[in-house]
């Protein structure tokens, strides 16, 4: 018998601290598998966000750096400009990227920085206890929108992939989900394409990945996958928004 699925080399042996059923674990594995398959582990430099994935530097078996909240694209810019032959990626959540880090991400894509952003969108602030994020859906109950988010009070959820795809500097922008095996495979393909876009020096690349937060959504892991499919995918359509 030959092994067909096992821990990728680009992950350390540390156990993930994520809640049961949190799809961060799946996304970590996909990023690591792409690094393995493209043989880029020795060249890769990852930037961690502030948020649930703050400890990702313990999990990825490549060079990792920690950024201040939302500033991962700025740090990635500096590293990539100094070491242009490396693969530089950031791994950010929606609170990190779409809220406090909005300035950094918009200008990094506008400048066409040759970096890759893995953007995990679960429509809520996970680590701090389930507050409303810029990506929280209308009507969604969070600890800071206990009666559901309303457009009158909090405006509309931000569609980051569509927003950044308008920038001329963006080379590859895609949105995927990890709610079933087919979408997980599509996500892996998208991450690989984003890394290849960077290695071909085409410019800024981002993969927005719709993810679950069973704990803060107040659902079981399986119910959370269903909630993602029924509520998030209709508002955040999947697909490639820019390919060059």
């Amino acid at each position: 018998m030959k092994v067909v699925a096992q821990r990728p080399e680009s992950l350390t042996d540390a156990p993930f601290h994520y809640c049961p059923g949190c799809t961060h674990g799946i996304i970590h594995r996909l990023v690591a598998e792409c690094l393995d398959e493209l043989n880029l582990r020795e060249q890769a430099i990852g930037i961690c966000p502030v948020g649930c994935a703050v400890l990702a530097y313990d999990y990825f078996n490549c060079d990792m750096l920690e950024a201040a909240h939302g500033r991962a694209p700025a740090i990635a810019t500096g590293i990539k400009r100094l070491l242009p032959d490396r693969l530089v990626f950031t791994y950010q959540g929606d609170g990190d990227l779409a809220s406090i880090g909005m300035g950094e991400i918009v200008h990094a894509s506008g400048r066409g920085e040759n970096i890759t952003v893995i953007f995990v969108n679960n429509a809520i602030y996970g680590m701090t206890g389930g507050q409303m994020a810029p990506t929280t859906l209308l009507g969604q109950v969070t600890t800071t929108s206990p009666y559901g988010r309303t457009a009158e009070q909090a405006g509309y959820p931000l569609k980051m992939a569509e927003l950044l795809a308008q920038n001329q500097g963006a080379a590859y922008i895609c949105r995927t989900a990890v709610n079933n095996p087919a979408n997980v495979m599509r996500t892996k393909k998208a991450i690989k394409k984003a890394f290849q876009t960077q290695m071909q020096a085409k410019g800024f690349s981002m993969v927005e990945i719709l993810s679950t937060c069973p704990t803060n959504w107040g659902l079981s892991p399986l119910e959370a996958l269903e909630w993602l499919e029924k509520n998030m995918i209709p508002y955040y359509p999947l697909g490639e928004f820019k390919v060059s």
Binding site: M1, K2, P20, I26, P214, L222
Partner: protein
């Protein structure tokens, strides 16, 4: 003889059941007679002979509990 074989690092299982939900052969289930060091009932195979080694359980596992082998 089964075509595939799945092995688990049960001490890391958090009982989310994503593998149970997506296994096309429906051969996985939580072992309610055991509790792992994290405090969960860990994953187990119910019908070993039916595993075809497709790897979908490992694809959906967020905690890299599962290793899959195939002939």
């Amino acid at each position: 003889m089964a075509k595939g074989r799945v092995t688990f690092r049960t001490e890391r299982c958090k009982a989310c059941e994503l593998c149970v939900r997506f296994c096309p052969q429906q051969i996985l289930s939580l072992n309610k007679t055991m509790i792992n060091p994290l405090g969960y009932h860990p994953i187990a195979v119910v019908r070993e002979e039916a595993c075809n080694g497709c790897g979908i359980c490992a694809l959906m596992c967020p905690d890299l509990v599962i290793t899959v082998e195939r002939e």
